[in-house]
């Protein structure tokens, strides 16, 4: 799995967005930061809680100049049908058929043939700033991802459970 400081592997993959099928490349994303989140499969019962969570929080991420991109091994048509099922999504879903992108990010589960539930936050140079993976049966926290984006954008040293508005700590040698 990639770690903070690693260059994010580029991609140019089919995607579904706004009920249309198209392509999306990492270099084509213009936002300051990117939240790239891998999830196991479309048409599942845990993933929609996360995907809908990101959709509901998209305005807050936009305010942080951060794009959201979801990725799974399903094809783009499946993504489109699933997005319709969820009532349309405000961010693209990448079709990583075969799981090559998940392998490049080190989050492909060979036993399941799907990606792990993993989240990467990339900076403007598309370097990994934050990487986290959770078990397939545990959904991730969208609010925690947003908190980390805000903390990273603050440019300060943020203590545990830092929230915007709280004083950032000065550098602590311990």
């Amino acid at each position: 799995m990639l770690k903070p400081g690693d260059a994010a592997p580029a991609f140019d993959l089919p995607c579904a967005f706004d009920d249309k099928l198209s392509h999306l490349s990492l270099s084509g994303i213009r936002s300051e930061m990117v939240v790239l989140f891998f999830y196991p499969r479309d048409f599942s019962f845990i993933c929609p809680t996360e995907v809908i969570g990101f959709h509901k929080a998209r305005a807050a991420f936009n305010a942080e100049h951060t794009s959201i991109v979801g990725v799974s091994v399903d094809d783009a048509e499946s993504h489109r049908r699933w997005a319709r099922e969820l009532g349309s999504l405000g961010f693209p879903l990448l079709a990583d058929a075969g799981g090559n992108l998940a392998r490049k990010y080190g989050v492909f589960d060979d036993a399941e043939g799907t990606a792990l539930r993993a989240t990467f936050i990339l900076d403007a140079r598309r370097v990994v700033l934050y990487a986290v993976a959770s078990p397939v049966n545990v959904g991730r926290s969208v609010s925690e991802t947003l908190r980390v984006v805000r903390a990273l954008r603050s440019g300060k040293l943020c203590p545990a459970d830092w929230v915007p508005g709280a004083d950032a700590s000065p550098a602590d040698p311990d």
């Binding site: 499969r41 479309d42 048409f43 599942s44 019962f45 845990i46 809680t49 499946s78 049908r81 699933w82 049966n137 959904g139």
Partner: protein
């Protein structure tokens, strides 16, 4: 068009679930008693001793098999019910996990992920239907899995007793030890063939039910023959030393 009567079909399946006790009981009763008769006829000279031993063996066997079936089914049922209760409690705390597992089980049976998702979503509107389906599809647990300890025990005991009478009655009715044994083994062979023919052959729609009958007969009579040989081998151990 004739409509399917699910209740009648369910009752049929429940009755068929008892075939195991009936076949096991009859086969064991016939085989054990025929083995005792054959073995003791080789080892003991007096006919009355053989009959007494066979009667004692029949009584002990019927009670033991009946009690064994009762206790076995009771233990199995209790364990399964307890496991189902535990699974259901766990499932109710993690509905997403149940939904995901059921979805995976349906996909494994050939449904597309999208179709499976829609089915699970529909089932989720009625939690009882969701959990019942999940228990059956994921864990292979269903209400029909449970036996009735009392009926299983009674069926097994009675079947053993009836089976035991098959070789025992002719043996008791014929005065000669050797002829009685032959008569007992002959009725044993006929009944064993009939049980195999009926239960393994006809009820399970085998193309050649007679083959099932012969297989059943061969296994049972093979065991009786081995019992007879063992009786012959141990006979010298019972001989009273001279002097």
């Amino acid at each position: 068009m004739a409509a399917l009567d699910p209740q009648a079909k369910r009752r049929t399946f429940e009755r068929l679930a008892n075939v195991r006790e009936i076949v096991f009981g009859i086969q064991d009763g016939v085989l054990t008693t025929a083995g005792v008769l054959a073995g003791l006829s080789g080892a003991v000279a007096q006919r009355s001793q053989v009959i007494l031993a066979a009667l004692a063996s029949t009584a002990a066997g019927a009670l033991s098999m009946g009690a064994g079936a009762y206790l076995g089914t009771r233990a199995e049922t209790r364990i399964l019910r307890s496991e189902m209760r535990r699974v259901r409690e766990e499932s109710q705390g993690q509905p997403y996990v149940v939904q995901e597992s059921l979805l995976a089980a349906l996909a494994k049976e050939g449904l597309s992920r999208e179709a499976g998702y829609r089915i699970v979503q529909l089932l989720s509107a009625a939690p009882q239907a969701l959990y019942n389906t999940a228990e059956e599809k994921i864990y292979g647990l269903a209400g029909a899995t449970f036996g009735n300890p009392l009926s299983d025990g009674l069926l097994m005991g009675v079947a053993f007793l009836l089976g035991a009478l098959v070789p025992l009655l002719p043996f008791m009715l014929v005065a000669s030890l050797r002829l009685g044994l032959i008569a007992g083994l002959a009725t044993t062979a006929i009944v064993l063939f009939a049980v195999g023919y009926a239960f393994e052959g006809r009820l399970s729609d085998q193309r050649y039910p007679a083959v099932a009958g012969l297989r059943f007969l061969a296994i049972a009579m093979g065991a009786a023959a081995i019992g007879y040989v063992i009786g012959l081998l141990i006979a010298p151990l019972g001989a009273v030393p001279a002097g």
